[in-house]
């Protein structure tokens, strides 16, 4: 676990520019919305900004391996006494930390906006927790595909996998058994149709997102364990 945390911490450190830009963006956009306190505007903030968090989570994970591989920094890491799954878990953990941070900012800003506008704040905490869990699931899907695909293809494949039910749903996503296995799609659906107050099924989203993340990480590790991670420069 220590190795995973070390790698995660290192990963977050390497992403400081994204961390800074995203934080400034979220704070800035919250500032813009705080000027207007109409219900529809606050609702727009709550519906749109968390989607960026999901997108960023995916985009953080997808190029991570390729970046280390191309820069050859991967050699020094994987030549140490660590398992490859630990390296992947480190990246995922790092993405998770960043997603948790962004989710926290979204929650804090949403809470402040709702309070100022006199809108209900109940359920915002759980929504942020579900957003964080979904972000980690999205990152794990991106990581899985990036173990064997070019980052561009991996992004498309991960987005496709995560959002399959959304593509086939015209109205609200049905709470069917099959959809339970698509926590990110359900989260997107919940956000798009958010209307203050408690949202049903958030706990299910959190649990299935965690299960998905672990499953994707396990599959990614199994694939990455069998792949050449360097190409000889000769």
């Amino acid at each position: 676990m220590r190795v995973v945390l070390l790698l995660a911490q290192n990963y977050v450190r390497m992403q400081w520019v994204i961390l800074l830009i995203m934080t400034l963006y979220l704070l800035g956009i919250s500032g813009v919305f705080s000027v207007h306190q109409q219900r529809q505007e606050v609702l727009f903030f709550l519906r749109s900004q968390p989607l960026y968090v999901l997108f960023i989570a995916l985009m953080l994970a997808v190029p991570a391996i390729e970046a280390d591989r191309k820069s050859r920094r991967l050699l020094a890491v994987l030549s140490k006494g660590i398992h490859r799954w630990q390296y992947l878990a480190g990246i995922l953990c790092g993405c998770g930390m960043m997603t948790a941070f962004f989710s926290f900012i979204v929650w804090a800003m949403a809470y402040a906006l709702c309070r100022r506008g006199g809108n209900p704040t109940e359920g915002l905490g759980l929504l942020a927790a579900a957003l964080c869990a979904s972000g980690i699931a999205a990152a794990s899907a991106g990581l899985l595909y990036s173990t064997f695909l070019h980052p561009l293809l991996a992004t498309a494949a991960a987005a496709g996998t995560l959002l399959v039910p959304v593509a086939f749903t015209t109205e609200r996503m049905a709470n069917s058994a099959a959809n339970v296995f698509f926590p990110v799609a359900r989260m997107v659906d919940a956000l798009v149709h958010y209307h203050f107050g408690l949202v049903e099924g958030l706990w299910t989203i959190i649990i299935t997102a965690v299960i998905c993340a672990v499953a994707f990480l396990a599959i990614a590790s199994a694939i990455f364990d069998r792949r050449d991670v360097t190409i000889s420069p000769e």
Binding site: L75, L78, D228
Partner: protein
């Protein structure tokens, strides 16, 4: 064959690369076999594209062989526990952009080191490689030579039993090279094994106990430096009291040096005696490593990798 496990052993390893859609397959290693004993400094030479880096990456578990197998410190290639006892410095070292001291600690921690021991080892490496003055500077802003030193420090921080160095002195200044040579020689004195790949032939010649020359994915020659460089086919006879012209020799510092084939060694010595001369010494002709390297590269038709479906390059 020694009964103990070798420090590093490649057994009939082949490695093929595939191009996109496998249009052009390239054989980097071709039934490559090599055994590196414990406690020796082993030089690994070969022209560009000979497969040296591929062999090293396979040993480190960064790549998988297409066929064959090998072991490192008694465990199969890629074994995590074995890697903890290995120090590795790759070619064109690339490290994370962090303060040098933190970076060395980070890599040490990945090898399971922690606490006071890790801090002490890091400090020792910083001193050893003259990095104390820049310990708190971001390694991302270092020159190539400085980065190479940090790379060496991260390879040595875990006090490894086996040190695998791919071009360890390529970016270093002469003082840095001497320092690295000292570190390598000291490591051998401590019983460690050093496997070093380099294009600096004079350096290899100076420090290695044994060396292998790889051409086109195969070991073309392996042996001690002396075995490889001293030819048993031609000898140099150093004599005095004779006319150099009579023996087609060269006069040097008052002595006459005559180079003869092994077959003529005895008869030439007798001729010198008959002429009233005195034989001072008889030595096998010693080539330079560069001569041997170039000769082998020419004999084996160049250095490029072999295309499988396109014949020889």
């Amino acid at each position: 064959m020694p009964s103990t496990a070798a420090a590093l052993e490649f057994d009939e390893i082949s490695k093929e690369y595939g191009g996109f859609f496998h249009t052009e397959r390239v054989k980097a290693l071709d039934h490559f076999s090599l055994r590196v004993e414990r406690g020796e400094i082993f030089g690994f030479l070969g022209p560009n594209g000979a497969g040296k880096t591929t062999a090293i990456h396979i040993a480190m578990g960064l790549m998988f062989p297409s066929s064959g197998r090998g072991q490192m410190l008694g465990a199969r290639f890629g074994d995590v526990a074995a890697r903890r006892r290995v120090g590795f410095l790759g070619e064109n070292v690339a490290l994370f952009h962090r303060r040098a001291a933190r970076l060395i600690e980070f890599y040490g921690a990945l090898n399971g080191m922690h606490g006071t021991h890790l801090r002490q080892q890091t400090l020792e490496m910083l001193k050893e490689l003259d990095l104390m003055a820049v310990a708190n500077r971001n390694a991302g802003k270092f020159s190539r030579g400085m980065l190479q030193r940090v790379g060496l420090a991260q390879a040595l921080v875990n006090n490894p039993d086996l040190l695998i160095l791919d071009e360890p002195t390529s970016a270093l200044d002469p003082i840095g090279r001497v320092r690295v040579r000292e570190i390598i020689l000291r490591a051998r004195e401590e019983g460690k094994t050093i496997f070093v790949s380099s294009h600096l032939l004079s350096e290899i010649e100076q420090i290695c106990d044994r060396l292998a020359i790889v051409i086109k994915g195969r070991v073309a020659r392996v042996g001690t430096v002396r075995e490889l460089l001293e030819s048993q086919e031609r000898f140099v006879i150093t004599a005095t009291g004779i006319d150099a012209l009579m023996f087609e020799g060269a006069r040097q510092n008052g002595y006459v040096k005559i180079t003869v084939p092994a077959l003529h060694q005895r008869s030439t010595i007798e001729k010198i005696w008959l002429a009233g001369g005195e034989v001072i010494a008889v030595h096998p002709v010693r080539r330079t490593l560069e001569d041997l390297f170039v000769e082998l590269a020419h004999q084996n038709g160049g250095s490029r990798k072999e295309k499988i479906d396109g014949g020889h390059e």
